[in-house]
């Protein structure tokens, strides 16, 4: 093999993709059709998340050498990382057709099926891979994850223990175990495995996220919402997107039934309260849990700057809103003054600010930012302005705050637009 390419491969294996990339690019100037060099370059590009460029390069390698199964595997890997599952599946099928004895091809295909929620296919491919190499870590992990999704936790756990027994220092396995425990609501066990994964590989993003979720799951409402999120995530795409509507209609139906009967009439309010708490919780619980994490010795460092500031902003406005509303309801503050109605509305406005503040990026930016951030900043500014104006012109407070309320509703309805 060429010395430069050999060096580039070594650099890539050592986790120095930038050094490897410059060597390969220099080499390709003299030999632009070297498919092996192109495949190495694609790996470097994947490493720095330039997935489209990597895919384009590996396509070139395939055009030059269409019989190399590994290039199809690399092509599939790029698509899998991008979330394009059909081309990933096709490329892996070609790779397996060209070389049916490579367990990693089956392992990746199993992960593609897992991501595409085809859990039975995932289990089948992982099992096929394990038939070739019984201790293949990728296939063992994929099998355990598929079994867990197929509600066979006992067997999933046994597979994971098997994988750990073969390679106790495998970050990937510890991370998978962490997520498996988390999905089952066992946050302590999950945290222990995420910590172990991070001890072995401190830059593993999935384990960092997992540890954060496990620590936040110590708060029961957050744990329940997380369980709900896991459950929704395991459903089909259609059911997943229809879920908010299904829940809303279900609650409306329950409330209607309760209201029709005098005995259960009061329960309608309880049901409505639960629904409102559920909606507010789903909007703000993440920030509230992050706020509690700020006081945890590990958790405070696990949070990103945006998560930290978002938590502080959300909890502060919610606390201010609740305090003001409580004072109005319990202590009658502002009664008999020009602010009689304004204080309650201001309290509500403060509460509502938790939503845009929880979605904003920190530090706050209005230039070179996305639509979600821009909409959130705009609503926050509108909210704060309406509060100040209401205090300055209490006679028009209701009009100002109702106008803001309409903006708030529009913001909620523009959800899909915001995320485009």
């Amino acid at each position: 093999m060429n010395v430069i390419l050999d060096q580039a491969r070594l650099l890539l294996e050592q986790g120095r993709p930038k050094d490897a990339e410059s060597k390969i690019k220099a080499y390709l100037q003299g030999d632009p059709d070297n498919h092996y060099a192109l495949s190495l370059l694609a790996r470097c590009l994947y490493d720095r998340k330039a997935l489209d460029d990597g895919i384009s390069i590996i396509r070139q390698a395939i055009r030059i050498e269409p019989d190399e199964s590994f290039y199809y595997y690399l092509h599939a890997f790029g698509h899998y990382q991008k979330g394009d599952y059909p081309p990933a599946t096709n490329n892996l099928s070609t790779a397996i057709r060209l070389n049916p004895y490579h367990p990693e091809y089956y392992g990746l295909l199993a992960f593609v099926y897992l991501a595409d929620k085809s859990f039975k296919s995932a289990l089948a491919k992982a099992t096929e891979g394990l038939a070739i190499e019984a201790d293949n870590i990728t296939c063992l992990n994929a099998r355990a994850m598929a079994l867990n999704k197929l509600k066979q936790p006992g067997e999933a756990m046994a597979t994971m223990q098997n994988a750990l027994a073969r390679d106790p220092d495998n970050d990937f396995t510890h991370n998978t175990l962490g997520w498996t425990f988390l999905e089952r609501g066992k946050h302590r066990e999950a945290a222990a495995h995420f910590r172990e994964a991070l001890r072995i590989n401190p830059v593993m993003g999935s384990a960092q996220q997992g540890l954060k979720e496990a620590l936040k799951s110590r708060i029961p409402p957050y744990r329940w919402l997380l369980q709900y999120a896991f459950w929704v995530n395991n459903q089909g795409k259609r059911l997943k997107s229809a879920m908010p509507l299904i829940i809303y209609i279900s609650f409306r139906f329950i409330i209607l039934v309760f209201k029709k009967n005098r005995v259960t009439e009061d329960l309608a309010w309880v049901a409505a309260g639960i629904y409102v708490l559920f909606v507010i919780g789903s909007w703000t619980m993440n920030s509230i849990a992050n706020f509690f994490l700020l006081f945890h010795p590990d958790g405070k460092y696990a949070l990103t700057s945006t998560e930290r500031w978002s938590a502080i902003a959300v909890v502060s406005t919610m606390a201010a809103g609740f305090t003001l509303i409580s004072l109005v309801l319990l202590k009658d503050i502002g009664k008999g003054t020009a602010y009689e109605d304004a204080f309650f509305a201001i309290g509500m406005a403060l509460l509502s600010l938790a939503l845009p503040l929880g979605e904003m990026d920190y530090p706050v930016r209005i230039r070179k930012t996305n639509r979600r951030n821009l909409f959130s900043v705009a609503l926050t500014v509108a909210g704060l302005a309406s509060i100040v104006l209401s205090l300055l012109i209490p006679a028009h407070a209701l009009f100002i705050l109702v106008s803001y309320g309409i903006a708030f509703l529009l913001y909620n309805w523009s959800g899909a637009l915001r995320y485009k």
């Binding site: 070594l10 986790g15 220092d169 991070l198 072995i200 401190p202 460092y301």
Partner: protein, 439 residues
Amino acid sequence: MNETIKNLEEALAVSPDNIPLRLHLAELMLAAERYPDAAGHFELVLQKSYGNVKARAGLATCYYHTGKFSAAIIIYEQLQNQLSEADNLRFVKCLIREGSMQEAGAVYQKIIQANPNFSDPDIDSYLRVASQQGSPADEQEEVAGGDEHPYFMEKPAINFSAVGGMQRIKNEISLKIIQPLKNPELYKAFGKKAGGGILLYGPPGCGKTFIARAAAGEIAAKFINIGLHDILDMWIGNSEKNLHEIFELARQNTPCVLFFDEVDAMGASRSDLKQSAMRHVINQFLAEMDGAAASNEGVLVLAATNAPWSVDAAFRRPGRFDRVIFVEPPDEKSREQILRTALTGKPTGEIDLKKLVTATPEYSGADLMAIIDIATEDKLTASMEIGVIQPISTKDLLKAVKAHRPTTGEWFATARNYALYANETGLYDDILKYMKIKK
């Protein structure tokens, strides 16, 4: 010379199209070791007078001195027979640094053919190192395989006084490797054994190589710099033998500082290494450091890495790299000194260094140099447009600060994770302290 350069710069400002004048200025700058400035002027000459041999050779010399060996080689190859002996010599060194040994040998032969009495105190001896040490059979093998690995040995002209700030690091290096050489009796009296090595780690561009070179200068020792390219060669080629040769070369030239740059490329965690060849290199390195076969007295081993987490734990055992020092980005005092030194000789107005220092926390030495480069280029363009020299101002430098963000951020983002999650041995305590994280 600075006065002449200044006068020429003023003259050029009046007549910017005067090619001979600009060429003269570039050559003077080259002689004054102001390589980036000289390169800028050579490039301008070549824009107006394409193919100018003097300018091309001068530009190649600038590239050589700034470590851009590939770029220098391209120019030298184009000039071929028009090169002076000194240029050819630099050409050889560039080729060696880039690992093109056969070509280096061919050019070297040409120099000797043209001047049989030619002798270069550095290159000549190093190119013969391999053959002096090996047996005749080995020599045959080396010629056949083309596996000669000469290593540059130099005597650095700088010492610790050239290093701004970094007092803690200087003290540690002094205590560990300089004082034992200067006061051997004292160390003997306290039963303190000299030797072992120091591993410097930290974000790129913060002066690890510079301080290692200065350490060698401090004790007037020779300095051998083994870079990433040499390390990679060890893995692929005749690895163990090459490594032994390096240590032998150092042992024969004591006192000598052996500096392994980017040592993580060699000591990548052994659990990651599947190939047995890689394990052999590591084991050989450890054996050489332990001095199992020969004494390492007078050989000081320094290593640097941007990725201490990739360095094999075996490297850090007593007697090996038992001091691991964090080279942090320059503090305020160091930044001020770096900026002052880098601005010396440039046309500047009143510069508020304090303001600049405040605006550049977490900037590495390389980042500060980049800022000055950006400001200089801007002012050079403006001077050419107006025809009058425009001095660099604080405002220009602050503008450059905004344009160039510190490159240390990415390193700290990774280092933070290691310090938070994999600090069982306390190896990354210094990072935690620097980042003000209390665990």
